[in-house]
């Protein structure tokens, strides 16, 4: 019993996400509008929300440093998108060189802001508010009022294609890939468990490990088989998976990742423990610029255009995802996995309400209330813990 309660409180957002998905599924299927889990909808969920997941990952690192946010990400996205348009459309540069240059520029933009924040101690809110104006303005200056496009097919194919790309075998290839992923996952779990037992460390109970593995494998097999029924596994999903895995590992298992949590939890204590807090802050914001660049490249490939309205409100989506996913508004608490769940949560809300034909403005109201509810939940649960 205690274990179930523990699981629920630790994974509250995941449980709520599942419940909300089931609720939407019930509403959608009873009103005869298809299914939330239809192959097409699942594929769209990934392609429409890919950018949020990428940005939320970067934003999480900023928030971990002490509840600091980056308001400029939407503007960095539009600026890097515009630059990529100039490189690829106007200058006819090769996609690979363009991607490389765009990411370098995005990282430099991040470093520019990070310098002021980390070393001159300008509050992040102010620095990135300025960045929000500056970069969007710059983007519109170099882009003109029209936007830039269309992008070369070879570039779009990099992000918008599927595995396998067409052919008869889509369904079976998708399932084979899913099975391979599950097998790798299970092997890793079992090997690490055996190693722990060999060294005499405590391990979780065998039953709970099996339940977890079965649940995760089941979801992977289900989702991938759905992809198989549509067009295959989106390449974007591979990119997202890589980003989430790398940053998840970074925050959980590396020394600098640990420092991020420590400085967000208590900056003075971290400094007195030998953590170079300035360097960590610089890294978090520089990295945010880099990931905003990645999101921009994904975005222009999807829309086939560097648009003048791109990136509007992206910063709020990213920040919202982190908080819904359990990051603390004071820093030091939060996980990449949580931020991803937050991003999917927002995506499901958007998609579910759109399918149901809810009014656009009403959708905003509901998203806003969900965000507030998530943070209230966070604060209240902390208060209760302190009282105990």
């Amino acid at each position: 019993m205690i274990k179930t309660k523990d699981f629920l409180s630790k994974n509250a957002m995941l449980v709520i996400l599942v419940l909300v998905m089931l609720l939407f599924e019930a509403l959608i299927s009873t009103s005869g509008r298809g299914s939330l889990f239809s192959p097409e909808n699942l594929t769209n969920l990934i392609s429409q929300n890919g950018y949020v997941i990428i940005l939320a990952t970067g934003m999480l690192l900023c928030i971990l440093t002490g509840g600091n946010i980056d308001l400029s990400v939407g503007s960095v996205v539009i600026l890097v998108g515009a630059i990529s348009g100039i490189f690829m459309v106007d200058m006819k540069m090769s996609p690979y060189l363009s991607i490389f240059l765009c990411l370098v520029i995005a990282t430099l933009i991040g470093a520019w802001q990070a310098f002021w924040i980390a070393y001159v101690r300008i509050p992040p809110f102010v620095t990135t508010l300025a960045g929000m104006l500056v970069f969007r303005g710059l983007a519109l200056v170099i882009m003109g009022s029209q936007g830039i496009g269309p992008f070369p097919d070879s570039y779009k194919a990099l992000f918008n294609s599927f595995i396998p790309n067409g052919g008869e075998m889509i369904a079976s290839v998708s399932i084979i890939i899913a099975v391979v992923i599950c097998a790798v996952l299970i092997t890793i779990q079992i090997v690490s468990r055996m190693q722990k037992m060999k060294k005499g460390y405590a391990v979780e109970s065998f039953v709970s490990m099996v339940i977890k593995l079965v649940a995760v494998s089941g979801i992977i097999l289900f989702v991938f088989s759905r992809f198989g029924q549509h067009r295959g596994i989106p390449v974007l999903l591979v990119l997202l998976g890589a980003i989430v895995l790398i940053y998840s590992y970074y925050t959980k298992n590396t020394v600098p990742g640990r420092y991020l949590y420590a400085m967000g939890g208590n900056e003075k204590a971290a400094r007195l423990s030998g953590v170079n807090t300035k360097k960590m802050m610089f890294f978090a914001y520089t990295n945010m610029g880099f990931l905003a660049g990645v999101a921009a490249l994904v975005g222009v490939a999807r829309f086939n255009q560097a648009s003048t309205t791109a990136g509007t409100g992206f910063e709020l989506d990213a920040i919202g995802s982190c908080f819904i996913g359990g990051a603390s508004a004071y820093g030091g608490v939060g996980t990449v996995g949580g931020a991803v769940i937050g991003a999917i949560f927002m995506g499901v809300l958007n998609m579910g309400m759109s399918i149901l034909g809810a009014d656009q403005n009403l959708q905003r109201v509901i998203k806003g209330l969900v965000l507030l509810a998530a943070v209230i939940f966070d604060v209240l649960s902390k208060n209760r813990k302190q009282a105990a």
Binding site: Y201, T254, G264, N266
Partner: protein, 512 residues
């Protein structure tokens, strides 16, 4: 003798884990200046917080009788209404507001819809004249010095029609001239019929102005000395303040002191914000192998600042001086360098500066030296980390549900032990302990003393900063005495006692 203005009867105040006040009785006669003295942590400030309603009625036991009626203050406003005003050691003025605005903060002239600025500033000017402060009431607080700010605080109290004025260490941050002016002002108020309570460490000042003196020690009133009736001299007051018996609260140890392993010479540190204010002034000290060296001094003597500036320059600006490790000149530019040179600093503020409360025991244990449990100083070996955390937790006797428990949920004593464990994990040769036993119970203290003894038995060295004099006398091989940023004395264990230390501090204060 006239009827007392204030009588506090049998006041007992208990904090979780510690009894701060134990049956304290305290009376003040109208029109007198009553001094309240005692060591740091004796309970003076707690008593005044009870009186002013900061600790509301119900959180303490006992009675407060003020001008012949029993008072049950539930907030500061209640005591202010009765004319009791307290001026804290840390001034509570808003730097970017004018003197006038500060004076009537929370007590604004005019009505809720409109502040009457004309009345505010003309009244403020009147009060400024009374306290003898020659400034316009429109001057910003940040533009006047500490001495003048102190006067503004007093004027602020006057604006509330104060009848009983309580001053907590009013001259601690003032120079000699400002201090004298302030004392004269108190005497002037007295001649006009005001009653004051003065908390101070500066016994010469107390001798100068006080009509009676109440000594508090370990949360109990020891005695009240009345001018003209009892002998009032510094020696007499010191005896009252420190006259407790030392019993075997400190585990015995044989000391085996080796050669000098750590030394600073002419160490000077300036305040990081107030340019030109020296917090450490040409400090020279050394520590030998296997030795426990103490630093004694009052609050604000610069002990913590000295320790932190040594620890990778984590405090202060324009640090100068020489630092030697095992006879070799060393340059500890940042905390990382200090840790790598096997120095550890265990802060006095475990919650603020020491532990990450939102993280678990495991994470806190390894934070200062993750290189011990990581590959290439980058990838953390979590399994090894878990076993390290278990090892240190049990070695230091941290009582908890498990190493994944959040540190914020541990008791103070266990947090302190964990803080010590964290720094022992960093494997230091020189351990600087800053008030390691403050606010924890006797049992936990004893365990910490045992840990100190174990360390020096392994030829490591400890620099112990403490305001608890018996602790220093019980634990140290040698004691440095620090006051106002300078080392004013060095005593071997045999020659040290509380009277000598107190006298050295007070003698050096007088010269300021």
């Amino acid at each position: 003798m006239s009827e007392p203005l204030l009588r506090m009867k049998n006041i007992t105040k208990v904090f979780p884990g510690a009894k701060a006040l134990d049956n304290v009785n305290f009376s003040v006669i109208p029109g007198e200046i009553h001094a309240l003295v005692g060591e740091n942590g004796a309970g003076k400030s707690t008593l005044m917080n009870v009186l002013s309603g900061i600790y509301p009625y119900g959180t303490y036991e006992g009675e407060i009788i003020y001008s012949n009626e029993e008072c049950r203050f539930s907030k500061i406003k209640d005591s202010e209404k009765k004319g009791i005003a307290i001026i804290h050691q840390e001034l509570a003025l808003v730097p970017y507001m004018t003197i006038g605005e500060n004076m009537f903060l929370g007590n604004e002239r005019g009505n809720a819809a409109r502040v009457d600025w004309d009345e505010t500033y003309s009244k403020a000017d009147e009060y400024l004249k009374i306290v003898g402060l020659n400034e316009s009431s429109q001057t910003l607080i940040k533009d006047i010095g500490v001495g003048k700010q102190q006067l503004v605080e007093i004027a602020k109290a006057l604006a509330k029609n104060v009848r009983l004025l309580i001053l907590d260490e009013p001259t601690a941050s003032l120079n000699e001239e400002d201090s004298q002016n302030l004392l004269k002002l108190l005497l002037k108020f007295k001649s006009e019929g005001m009653t004051s309570i003065l908390i101070s460490h500066k016994l010469n000042e107390i001798e100068q102005v006080a009509d009676s003196i109440t000594v508090i020690r370990d949360g109990s009133t020891i005695e009240t000395l009345v001018k003209g009736k009892d002998e009032i001299s510094e020696a007499r007051i010191i005896k009252g303040m420190v006259g407790r018996e030392i019993n075997d609260r400190y585990p015995a140890r044989e000391s085996h002191v080796g050669g000098v392993t750590f030394e600073v010479k002419n160490w000077t540190v300036y305040h990081p914000l107030y340019k030109g204010r020296k917090v450490c002034d040409k400090v020279s000290l050394n520590i030998r192998k296997g030795e426990v060296v103490g630093i004694s001094g009052l609050m604000g003597a610069g002990r913590t600042e000295l320790a932190m500036s040594i620890f990778g320059g984590s405090y202060g600006a324009d640090i100068s001086g020489e630092l030697y490790l095992d006879g070799k000149s060393a340059n500890l530019n940042n905390v990382r360098a200090a840790i790598n040179n096997k120095i550890a600093y265990v802060t006095e503020d475990r919650k603020g500066d020491g532990l990450v409360l939102s993280n678990c025991i495991r994470v806190n244990t390894t934070l200062a030296k993750l290189s011990r449990t990581s590959h290439f100083d980058f990838i953390i070996d979590k399994d090894q980390e878990v076993s390290f955390a278990e090892e240190y937790r049990s070695r230091f006797g941290v009582k908890c549900a498990g190493i994944e428990q959040n540190v914020g949920n541990l008791s103070g004593g266990n947090q302190q032990k964990l803080l010590l464990a964290k720094w022992m994990f960093a494997e230091p040769d020189i351990l600087i302990l800053d008030e390691p036993t403050r606010g924890i119970d006797v049992g936990a203290k004893y365990e910490i003393y045992n840990i100190i003894n174990e360390l020096v038995a392994q030829e490591k060295s400890v620099l112990l900063i403490s305001s608890d004099m018996p602790e220093l006398l019980g634990m140290c091989d040698r004691i440095y005495i620090m006051n106002e940023g300078r080392i004013v004395g060095e005593l071997a264990r045999e020659e040290a006692n509380q009277e000598v230390i107190m006298a050295k501090i007070l003698q050096s204060s007088k010269g300021a």
